[in-house]
């Protein structure tokens, strides 16, 4: 079965510092991985995806993610955090064994302090 894990409930970072939000995955076959962000009282917004190709994927709002096959990880990163990046972040994997639905992690709350 496909799954993702987000080991941190919350990540705190000072504005201007680099940030990392962690995600590990467990899949059979090639992984299709996604990051979404959720602002208060809003739906989930797509940030970026990894299907194949370069291990460093660039997405919206200056975010990028690094796919690491040996560590089965897909960590979300940003070189310089903004207060406006404070939100809930979800890692997801496509369930290619079944109906291609997205299976989400439990989420990580990112808090960026001024």
């Amino acid at each position: 079965a496909q799954s993702v894990a987000q080991p941190e409930d919350q990540v705190n970072v000072a504005e201007g510092n680099p940030l990392t939000v962690k995600c590990t995955y467990s899949v059979s076959g090639n992984p299709y991985l996604f990051w979404y962000v959720q602002y208060p009282n809003r739906g989930l917004q797509f940030l970026l995806k990894y299907i194949t190709g370069d291990n460093l994927v660039k997405g919206s709002y200056g975010f990028e993610a690094e796919f690491n096959k040996s560590q089965t990880s897909f960590h979300l990163k940003k070189p310089s955090a903004l207060v406006s990046d404070s939100a809930l972040y979800f890692c997801a994997v496509r369930d290619v064994d079944s109906t291609d639905k997205l299976i989400f992690g439990t989420g990580t709350r990112l808090q960026v302090f001024p």
């Binding site: 979404y36 739906g43 989930l44 917004q45 291609d100 639905k101 299976i103 439990t106």
Partner: protein
């Protein structure tokens, strides 16, 4: 392009009452999903439609939840009767097709509170 529309935005009902949510996906999107997001948890798929057919409803509590997608466009999700543990945000999403590499587009959700 217009996004995924959901209504209502908020709903408060008493337990054992019924409630319905509505979703209008992006035009041309064949696949429609309903997810349940309980506070502090990640979204969990309730039901997936491909056009107007059900692809996956394995996690839908069928004794109280029902959903339909008439004519392969709009969809409604109903809960009858509601329980306290149904308090959650109900998210609708759509994609071009179930295998689309572009991911999903989500609506803003309906926040349900059962008291």
């Amino acid at each position: 392009e217009a996004g995924v529309a959901q209504s209502p935005r908020y709903k408060i009902i008493e337990k054992r009452q019924s409630v319905a949510f509505w979703c209008n996906p992006i035009s041309g999107h064949a696949t429609l999903y309903w997810y349940q997001q309980i506070l502090g948890q990640g979204p969990k798929l309730l039901i997936q439609f491909q056009n107007n057919g059900v692809v996956d409803d394995s996690q839908l509590p069928k004794d109280r939840f029902s959903a339909e997608r008439l004519k392969g466009v709009d969809s409604t999700l109903k809960i009858q009767p509601a329980k306290l543990e149904d308090s959650a945000v109900y998210l609708c999403a759509s994609s071009l097709d179930h295998w689309s590499s572009y991911g999903y587009t989500f609506g803003s959700g309906t926040r349900l509170t059962v008291v």
